[in-house]
Symmetry: C2
Subunit: 415 residues, 2 copies
């Protein structure tokens, strides 16, 4: 195992990661620090403080991304970005996102402390709203950055309380009035992201470093079932247009048919809203989310089409509306960067395992505009998006060291 | 049809009912005035103002019931109560509850204006939280009044935002600091309640007055399904303990088996809460309500037992907890009061129809401590607990006149 070395200070990285986890900490040991919340603003404040203490230049952009820059020798050369996100699921853990931001931060700060200068700017980034739990769908910051989604559309998305991304963004920017704004989507030379695997494969095969080959494809949908309200005590069963009953049948059918396609399919209904949601009222409307993933784009497309058929088939006596939200095919990361990760891992005494990311990440979007790659480290029992999510300190250190070595190789570092 | 007559002023009653409907009015023409909300406090303020203008004595009690008294000749005789409730469903209508309070109010005020004096006090009552949509289960005010449920237990019930009945009650009382408090559960000589039918039978048979024979039995339950959270993109389908999937199967099975017992069964899942309710997280917990009604107590008991079996049978791979909340068998109203209603209806030119109440009402609880009865009037298409709920002005007037006549007969009215 790697402990601290010349590439990063593992103890400092761990201490900062734990300090960050105090912000939005939940009683069960997790983190609730949803996008653009008070908690995320407080997390920004802490990270910005560390960046300013390390003489990094701090900036944001119109999409609420956070940039912390170590200047390179050539200020006109496109920078290398590295990072992840600081927002969490409502009952998330300490590592998802935060580990990637702080590992990137540690790699850059250690380089600066050694008075090394890269050829181009090195920019540690925390993308806005990766998780998509408060404002769906997620990855808004990286999507806006690469131009995959317009900022106007993103700003209009409301949360469950009716607060729009736009207002929440303005509130974030108002909390940091002194930060300069970079233009949205400046040119980038490359992107690196470290993340916990969020699955069991590294742990099961006793690997500490995953060289991520790509990200499995994902489609998400919003489904609305419209029925009719009625009195629970008087409206006869056969005269009801009960949206909840239709939902129950539809969800059962979708799980049975889509969930059973093969072992690699991931089908999830994670969010359900019932209206008016009163015990003695027959529900008139159910709105729910579908999250569908598969590494094979052909299977993913077929499953997506099948979802539409099943929703229509189960709709009676209600009506159903299916709205596609995310449609992200599987992608492959940059082969040269993947080779550098494999080599750096070997140099650190950790053979890397080639691994497909089952979860989505901001790197998916950055890969559209520059060479991009990801480094995975294990998480205990493969558990993520849960409060007991855990990564070993030695694994965080090892992953950060691999990240730092690849960074040094692509950044033309010189003293 | 009855218009205004010597028993009540139908125009004034309608005008006040519409004025009350402005409080908590929804854009679609309904009312959202849930128990102990700002809206209900404002409704109290308006009704208390009318009562004080009519020289009624206004009081409350520890359970947040509202009492407006016309003094009788013998202040030591137990009073006659008449009324209903002022709270509504979140997407309720203008008549459910409010019609009964305002008809009672009109009957008593007309009597007072004619300088008639009853033998005992006449008390117009608005019971706290009949609906049970914000704080479940409902009928808290009447249950506390008759001692069916302890005020301590009622005060501890939280709403979805974690606000307890106790705090909401204290807030109501603080808004009316000058109102005296009656002891909880004082002796009562009789109880009358007018209500819209909330079903289609009167309308279908072209009756304007229903002489309610009793209330169909009702059981309610809270069910909690506990599974395990997980990442939607990484956790394999066959390793999931998805509480939402189990809910969907359970709800489908319950509807198919319980909902199909016979035409008279009413089975409703009206409220569902999913946790953590994020699109990319496999749900760990689903909490839902069951509302079960049937006029035959033996069928009701058998269906209740069957629900427990089905919940257990569908639980795997999660665990399930079923908590009974309400267990109210069918009841019969006082035969003498029912006869008086039939006779008063005939006198008003409206033959009464004997009808079983499919919905629950506070009168169910008052019937445990005194002779009690209910008068129904039609509502359009039988629709209630919906924003387009509607009763004809002439039907409201007719029902109030029948209520007033029965009141005069049992109250020993004299000039």
């Amino acid at each position: 195992m790697v402990s601290s070395n010349s590439l990063i200070n593992g103890d400092r990285l761990w201490t900062r990661l734990m300090a960050l986890a105090e912000i939005g900490a939940t009683p069960a040991g997790g983190v609730n620090r949803q996008a653009l919340s008070d908690g995320e603003i407080e997390a920004w404040r802490r990270v910005v403080g560390w960046a300013q203490a390390a003489d990094l230049t701090v900036a944001t952009d119109a999409a609420g991304n956070l940039f912390m820059t170590l200047p390179g020798r050539d200020p006109t050369a496109p920078p290398i970005l590295l990072g992840s996100h600081l927002d969490s699921q409502p009952t998330g853990g300490k590592f998802d996102g935060a580990a990637g931001v702080m590992a990137a931060f540690e790699a850059v700060v250690t380089l600066a402390e050694q008075r090394l200068r890269p050829a181009c700017d090195l920019v540690v980034v925390a993308w806005m709203n990766e998780e998509g739990s408060r404002f769906a769908p997620g990855m808004m910051g990286s999507e806006a950055f690469v131009g995959a989604r317009s900022l106007v559309a993103i700003r209009a998305v409301p949360d469950a309380d009716g607060v729009c991304v736009g207002d929440a963004l303005d509130r974030l920017h108002a909390a940091f009035p002194d930060l300069p704004h970079k233009p949205l989507g400046f040119p980038v030379a490359g992107y690196l992201e470290l993340h916990i695997e969020q699955g069991p494969l590294l742990e099961a095969s006793e690997h500490v470093i995953g060289a991520v080959t790509g990200i499995q494809g994902k489609k998400t949908f919003q489904v609305v079932i419209e029925g009719a309200e009625g009195h629970a005590g008087t409206l006869a069963q056969n005269e009801r247009r009960d949206a909840l009953l239709v939902f129950a049948r539809m969800a059962t059918a979708l799980n049975a048919e889509i969930g059973a396609i093969d072992d690699a399919i991931k089908f999830t209904i994670g969010r359900v809203t019932v209206e008016p949601n009163a015990p003695s009222v027959v529900p008139s409307r159910v709105t729910f989310s579908i999250d569908l993933r598969h590494p094979d784009n052909a299977v993913l497309d077929a499953a997506g089409a099948r979802i539409a058929v099943l929703c229509r088939r189960c709709a009676l006596p209600c009506t159903v509306t299916l709205t596609p939200l995310v449609d992200a095919p599987s992608n492959e990361f940059d082969p040269r960067l993947r080779d550098l990760i494999v080599q750096a891992a070997r140099d650190q005494g950790q053979p890397a395992m080639a691994i497909l990311s089952a979860a989505g990440h901001d790197a998916r979007h950055l890969a559209k505009v520059c060479p991009a790659a990801m480094i995975f480290i294990p998480c205990r029992d493969g558990a993520s998006h849960v409060e007991h999510e855990w990564a070993e300190p030695a694994h965080v250190t090892a992953g950060a060291a691999v990240l730092a070595q690849v960074l040094r190789e692509i950044a033309g570092v010189r003293s």
